[in-house]
Amino acid sequence: MSFFDKLRAGNGYDSPSRIHSARSGHAATAVAKASVSAPPGPGYVQRAGRQSNGLKEFLWTLDGIGHGHLLDLGPAWQTTIMFFLERGFKVYTEDLLSAWKDFLDADAKRIREQSANADPALASPASRAERFLAGSLRYPDGTFDAVLMWDLLDYLDAEMSTRVVARVTSLMRDGGAVLAIFHNRKPEGFHRYRILDAQRVELVSTPSPIAAHRIYQNREISNFFMRFRSSKSFVGRDQLRENLFVK
């Protein structure tokens, strides 16, 4: 039984009839309106999760990979990890946003302590990003079949975002998929994401580790992932854009 068959059997997942542009080898962009049901109350989203067409497409893309390698750049959630472990994946987790926050705090402390002798070049975004990535995302090139990026890029500065996407791109195998989320407008709160099942993602409210938040335009997002062969975007009523990129 293939990966997709398992999903379909276990979760009632309906197979899309169209053929992926990624598999045909042509770059294409498809924008679809996600059928996101509006939550009736504040607690509803937490309990029932959010219908995620991006996740469905992501899983559809991974169908047939078998024992693949997946990198989750969000927190280590039991449900997300088990979801992919049960489907034969080896799961890597690296909470990049928390690590970035810790790095920034340590960097600020170091600068305060060396206020007189601090090298101003070290405080530049490029230097910060380079030093941070010297200790993060250290995997051999072509390791991963799938990456869950969530809304990480919305909380990084432009320099870091560019470098993170470039690093992730090199870490992925050809045909691998990235699921990323972008906000269309400034969110009211900070959320982490965890997978409930093959169709739903739960948004978990947590204190925001990074105050800065950026809204990217479609062109900027396309530039980030310019080395990917295809992309699909699903826009929800909650102003979340789920993007699937296939290398």
Binding site: H69, A76, V91, E94
Partner: protein
């Protein structure tokens, strides 16, 4: 006067009453164990009943730990921990820079190294693991941090980190060197 004897039963009577409440062959219930309470920033309270070896928060061990008894680490360990059929618990103050190989591994503190749990690995809300996790069953609580891979093996696929088998090791904990840091 004679009522004193009735009020204070003899030692023989005490033994009788003891044996009456506990049938032959059954040991009396053990006294309740004293529980240790740990906390970090008043956010986490953990009840710990250490059994086997205990490394308290002021202890630092550099070297290899082997054996068959459970181990509770609330101090610092640098090297390796191989307790093949036992349980290793890294307490909230524990700082381990070592590969850990055990039947069951519970992490509440920080670990830099590979976790090889032949039965299960549990990482608590204050747990921070930087290294790969290989086990048959895994439990992650919200807040747990892992930087590394997670791999679940089947029962018929025992993994080995290339270390000597712990079952053949000595029965007690052995540390090459231990330094107790004074307060």
């Amino acid at each position: 006067m004679w009522h004193k004897d009735e009020a204070k039963p003899s030692s023989r009577q005490k033994e009788d009453s003891k044996s009456a409440s506990n049938p032959p062959g059954v040991e009396p219930a053990a006294a309740p164990k004293v529980e240790a309470v740990r906390s970090i920033a008043n956010q986490t309270v953990e009840l710990v009943q250490p059994a086997g070896g205990v490394l308290t928060s002021t202890m630092v061990i550099k070297g290899e730990i082997r054996g068959r008894e459970d181990l509770y680490v609330d101090g610092e360990v640098q090297g390796s921990i191989r307790l093949g059929d036992a349980k290793v618990t890294v307490g909230p103050h524990g700082r381990v820079t070592a590969d850990i190989e055990a039947r069951e591994i519970i992490v509440r503190g920080s670990v830099q190294g590979k976790l090889l749990g032949s039965d299960r690995v549990e990482i608590g809300p204050t747990g921070d693991v930087q290294g790969d996790v290989v086990t048959r069953r895994i439990a992650l609580e919200d807040g747990a941090r892992i930087k590394g891979s997670v791999e679940v093996t089947r029962a018929e696929e025992p993994r080995s980190a290339g270390a000597p088998k712990a079952a053949a090791e000595s029965s007690s904990l052995q540390a090459i060197s231990a330094h107790a840091q004074g307060s």
